[in-house]
Subunit: 228 residues, 4 copies
């Protein structure tokens, strides 16, 4: 898996603070901006997050390039509807030697991994035979497994990203999208630390949202996301 | 493929007309409703559609049960963001004898279909072996092909459905989702003919939205969707 | 204020339970439906709500006719983006004798209420004079006050309604939209009691989402929404 | 009215082209980026726009600070649901000397303008009296007219902006939001000319979407938006 941040709203924390202050202010956006030092911005954003007043967080958008993830992952990812996606098409791109993702549970058991690899490779051969026989890529791809790698560009705003992390950084999330979410969180924290302070799974900053703590060690989870 | 309408907004055309009339009326919703005979409702809805004033069409929602479609189809389907989805999970449901979809281009060539079937069945065997060896369903499913059948419940409102048909009833849409769109259109026309009169691909009621007519015979397309 | 339910998805709790069960089931929507007695449906919906698994609640939509509310209210109401609105237009409907909403804090002080009424009536006279002088309604309405009554048709699904109640049944919400939210909640509870059990402001089923309890008596709030 | 662009996605055209190319490409986002000269980017974006393939336009977001507009305008503006808003609150900000917007049709008739101004000023006096008598701002504002000025921060992506311009640059749109749309279009053209080439009302690049040309001179409209 490879995740990079392609672009984002310039000065994302500044614009969020500026917009949020406008709601309660008699003066205009420029007068507000003049007084917004980086320290005041960070402190104000923290206060908004604590009160759950995160609607102004929508003014900051982040665009990621994601590669080397499975189609199993992207089928889950595109269920997030407050986001924009551009994905490599299996209808238009035929991949004679397609890379694929192997789950860690199989990597841990060499004899099962061999079975898995062999099955995918056999299938790859048939896929190529179908293409060579003139079957269109959009039909031959019916053979391609969920493991098949894909590339996708994703844009989400900071409010939706926080919601995404809440769900997908959870230990009960599927391991691959959990890994993606951790990488995206690491990237956004570099450019907008205040917007994503104390962000992570629901339990990183409160009780388990599902009303269980069946996943394991709460202390470990919290420590992980404080350090991230 | 099997598509049924599970539920819909009661009296969908009546509520759309009632809401749309409110925008231009001094009287209230009940006085409006009294005058709305079925004929007036249909005529008024037609006028709204002709002018592109379709925002009131959102008040009518339709819920479909869809079965026997491929995961290739649902990966496309869930890209429609103004819709609600509940899909059978490959993480929680392990399918030892999974049914699958075979594209028509393969069905038309028996010797290729045999290759396709054999490849899917081989893969099914390995999938079962992985499950039996204790690999969790959510990881074993990395082997499952796009062809694998799934079930999904979908809700869309009439405005979004019209947009869905515009894109997916097009001859350039992928054949499986085109088939699904045709079936959904047939179903909604039975309960709300005025809301979906002259609905279909973009070219059914105007020029090709992509600025080509590369797909074939415009007259045939129009005749098909007038009869549907 | 007058709020009526115009239409809703037929059998809303049944379709929600049916869709939610599909996610974890090997059988199809019809086999699921056969086993769904009303008791099982209600119990299952309660379990989904407790775990926060409310995405299937989106399959049930409810349409309300709302009259006798102020434009101050509707400016807030239409900020809810996961909803559909059709509102009486001040551009196309000119209201020579426009009704208006008077806040309770003014009604409680007769001498202030007189001032308020007189100001609105003066303004109404000038509005009529402008219309009579040929000023278009869309410009004369610049004089109309926030208090001016309007009518609106609103559709939301059950998931978004629960979110709406969470925010707008709060004691810190503005009194008029709070009143509207209470009436809408009363109406949906009559047709879908399980979908809206324990619904209300955030504190009705947990701690105050804003981290304060500055509004007053928690016990009273909880009792009110249990009885509603 | 005062409209400034506060922030936007860095390099908006580059990221849109990069994302769109990914859909049809076997190589990754970085290899795509290397080949994207500004000329190629502009040409490719033009081709996407011509075919109506504008989903990748969503990756570019633009944030505007808008001041000196009426509450009549913002009530319309916030009906656009694929957008983010932060608006100065009349509940929390009390405006003893509130500025207001006077429509051009009134400015053109001095004797009517005097009536309008007097009515607003009378109303302003009563508003202040109510505040002084202890009525909360959130209730006193029921007196405030639609003309009352407000400030708002708005974020939309390029796809939604194009849709916004299509509706609101139309001669049949209300004059104030039409003026706002023209100013926003001028601003985005400065930072992303290719994304907004040939953008404007529906008739700027095709037939009138409402099936009329009742507004006036098509040639003038087209010339205006070509020059903008």
């Amino acid at each position: 898996m490879r995740v990079i941040m392609l672009q984002h709203t310039q000065d994302p924390e500044h614009v969020v603070a500026q917009a949020a202050k406008l709601c309660y202010s008699a003066v205009g956006v420029e007068a507000i901006a003049e007084k917004l030092t980086p320290e005041k911005t960070a402190g104000f954003i923290q206060k908004l997050a604590d009160m759950g007043h995160v609607s102004a967080f929508e003014h900051a958008a982040f665009t990621f390039g994601i590669e080397g993830v499975s189609r199993a992952l992207t089928h889950q990812l595109v269920r997030h509807r407050l986001a924009s996606f551009s994905q490599q098409s299996q209808r238009y791109v035929s991949l004679k030697e397609f890379p694929y993702v192997c789950p860690p549970s199989l990597q841990a058991q060499p004899e099962l991994k061999i079975k898995f690899d062999r099955a995918v490779q056999e299938l790859g051969k048939t896929y190529t035979e179908l293409l060579d026989a003139g079957i269109p890529a959009e039909d031959a791809r019916y053979l391609l497994p969920n493991a098949c790698e894909t590339k996708i560009v994703v844009t989400m705003n900071a409010r939706e990203l926080r919601h995404f992390f809440l769900l997908r950084c959870c230990n009960r999330a599927q391991w691959e999208i959990h890994d993606l979410a951790d990488r995206m969180l690491t990237l956004v924290k570099q450019v907008a630390p205040a917007l994503f302070a104390q962000t992570g799974p629901g339990c990183a900053a409160g009780p388990c949202p599902e009303g269980k703590m069946s996943c394991g060690n709460l202390a470990d989870v919290r420590e992980k996301y404080q350090k991230l």
